[in-house]
Symmetry: C2
Subunit: 451 residues, 2 copies
């Protein structure tokens, strides 16, 4: 096994053991390509999404939010092209009856073979639509088909006019959305990287046609900065200029922002210049005007759009892969051991600070520790722990990726040295260095570090 | 039309006009019982959910979070009882072919009639399951059926052991989740109150059997306090003790927390003592142990559970209904007009503060206003507006429910009175009173008000 696949196995194992990610319905044998986020995972994911929302929506004058439904009208996904063309080519093996991706068949002497039984008697390739469908309402006719959206983007286009009319925005402006999307992947793989249920963070940024090329560059750069700001280093991020032949026919340019995962270089986000394709399609199909009236030039036109589209789950996975480290350290007794640590950027770490009384059977220490917890809790996610040796408590927080730990000891009570009263030991996750800090200084100090 | 239904119509109209809520896929004729949240609605909903998460998870030592998948294994919803019993009785009208809820048929002389055509030739009632189903994977056999979860609760029960093992919690403790759920309601109604796609905020609080009765009371009271803390007054909240005959057979007690909507008194949240029913069902069906080992008593048992289960969308609707007001006010010229205002609690208001330069053609005013915006933006949701008369800008923010507005005027520049330099007019939404406040005091003052 390669060291990179060993590394991936260790990450998956840590995520299960520490409660970041579980397989969905595991006790029933699991649901292939579907995942649940546990107590640490849900906080990590929330921090990522909240940071995206903060910089993409709340800190900008030119972007507003939307939260569209998952259930989607068939006509909307007909107009967008998904019903007709959002498919993978599939073949059936006539020997063992298994269904396979036609574009992923192994070949022997140039002849495609079934990877399951080795058979060569395969059907012609047929398109298999990747959308999940369901029936809505009491009757079961074709009119009652609805889809689970395969991307969040379409509800932004469909609601473009409503948002424009109610928000009074002028071009250029964007509509942003975070939410779940669903694709019936035949071959879900690479843990949470390619799953059937996933979450997206998408911005549709509308502009005048002549602004499109420049804004494509602008958003590519903004999004690169975002990933650096959550702790993915520049040297592991790569911008792929998607060649014209690989782009959608309507696209005037697409960048893929890729990250070096242990399983290879893979896409985190696509930044696509989609021109006026989507709004035009929906205007045609619905018969409702989706154009923009420019009050200065008195012109009516359909805006162009730049779409930075990020995957929540694959970004979570990149954060986990980037953060994971194993080090050999020497303990107090001179014995060397392996330390497992998740070096999350403090901004996205699930727990910001651990608070420990040195001894749980000393009421004065426990009381002081509880006071520190109460002081910090309104400001950040705090974890209180009083069980086991301090060294073990540090290790547990290392594995959870907690950047700071505070130990309340007898010095904190001022028993030996009054000058140390109401100070604590602040221990740093990455350097393992410890320093003495006044309790009163903690809120400002820690808030700055996690902002 | 009754004044209450007029009131409801006005609320729905305001929500559309100001971008709180749109019908999903409206340009395609709409999707019945499915809604999209616009720019103001998404912020309102986020604030509600964030506050719930803060008080139910982050500020408690005894609750951890989970984010489970929507797609759910058929076996899990078989074990929970949903596949067999989560249904409404339906009849078909043989005359006009419409399908109807058997328990909602109008009667004439004691004979049920079709409300559509008045016909009396109806089929026998048959159960119609309310779960949305879909096919997962490439083949289309019964094994590939998956459901969209009808409630978030079941993934908490299914992951109980994983969360217990990884979080090291001791009883009593809870697992909390916010997420979407889906029910194929035959008759979605009352705007976003009963829709087919909705969001839940659920806590499953596990305890020893002997603690159940007391914790049911505890959580009922906690949840009532929650609603008061987001601005629903005590006198419009009602606790219904669900009679034993109306409870699930396994429940040892259920309270419904109800609110006086314009369309009647309706349930916001159920607080149910579900005993050990769910974990026992999943243990039996999966063959996996879902019990708890008490280290003190050395006993193994299946915990009991109290479930406070709140609806996000219906709480949003209650907040909108409670906040909506029309008043007759007199403008500067002595003309009386109707002021529409959403009196949201500042904690959940979508926009916390509007920032206005008195005149947009005065660069010094605009610059100072932009400084105030930049000062406050990292702390809260700020809306900058420079267009139209100040009175109109106030009215626009009244309709959006913004509790505070700041006007930067010539006094702010200190041109007439140096003592007023760097002060602004703080205008209060509800009283419409104005006061002079130093810019430096704004962050602390406003943060306290929205906390």
């Amino acid at each position: 096994m390669s060291s990179e696949s060993q590394r991936m196995e260790k990450i998956v194992s840590l995520c299960k053991r520490r409660g970041f990610i579980f397989q969905a319905d595991e006790i029933y044998g699991g649901l292939n390509g579907v995942w649940d986020y546990g107590p640490l995972g849900v906080e990590l994911k929330r921090n990522l999404k909240d940071y995206w929302w903060r910089v993409m929506v709340r800190e900008r004058d030119d972007v507003v939010g939307l939260d569209g439904a998952i259930l989607t009208h068939r006509a909307a996904l007909k107009a967008s092209g998904h019903e007709d063309t959002f498919s993978d080519p599939m073949v059936d093996c006539r020997t063992c009856k298994v269904r396979l991706r036609a574009d992923q068949l192994p070949e022997k002497n140039g002849v495609p073979q079934c990877p399951n039984c080795g058979g060569k008697d395969l059907t012609e390739a047929r398109p298999f639509n990747l959308m999940f469908s369901t029936q809505m309402g009491a009757s079961a006719d074709p009119d009652s088909i609805a889809y689970l959206r395969p991307e969040t983007a379409q509800s932004i286009f469909v609601q473009f006019k409503n948002v424009l009319d109610t928000s009074r925005k002028k071009l250029p402006f964007g509509i942003a959305q975070i939410g779940k999307a669903f694709r019936n992947e035949i071959n879900p793989r690479n843990y949470i990287f390619r799953s059937r249920e996933f979450e997206q963070m998408e911005l549709e940024y509308f502009c005048r046609p002549e602004q499109g090329a420049e804004l494509l560059e602008y958003w590519k750069n903004e999004r690169l900065r975002f990933y650096e700001n959550i702790g993915l280093p520049n040297e592991k991020l790569h911008v792929l200029t998607v060649p014209e032949a690989d782009r959608a026919f309507y696209s005037k340019g697409t960048y893929d922002i890729e990250y070096d995962f242990p399983f290879g270089r893979q896409e985190l986000e696509g930044v696509a210049y989609r021109t006026d394709y989507d709004l035009t399609q929906h205007q045609k199909a619905s018969g409702k005007p989706l154009d923009y009236f420019d009050e200065e030039t008195k012109q009516r036109f359909i805006p162009h759009v730049i779409e930075p589209s990020a995957g929540v789950d694959r970004t979570v996975l990149a954060l986990l892969c980037e953060a994971f480290a194993e080090e050999t350290v020497t303990d107090e007794k001179g014995k060397s051991e392996t330390r497992t640590v998740l070096r999350f950027h403090p901004r996205i770490a699930p727990i910001k600070v651990g608070v420990f009384p040195l001894l749980k059977n000393q009421p004065a220490l426990v009381e002081k520790a509880r006071q520190v917890q109460a002081l910090l809790r309104p400001l950040m996610n705090v974890f209180y722990d009083e069980t086991g040796a301090i060294g073990r408590r540090y290790r547990r927080q290392d594995e959870a990726g907690t950047p700071f730990c505070l130990t309340i000891d007898f010095e904190s009570l001022g028993e030996r040295d009054a000058a140390l009263r109401d100070t604590v030991t602040l221990r740093h996750r990455d350097s393992m260095e410890q320093e003495r800090v006044a309790i009163a200084e903690l809120p400002a100090r820690l808030l700055l570090a996690i902002a």
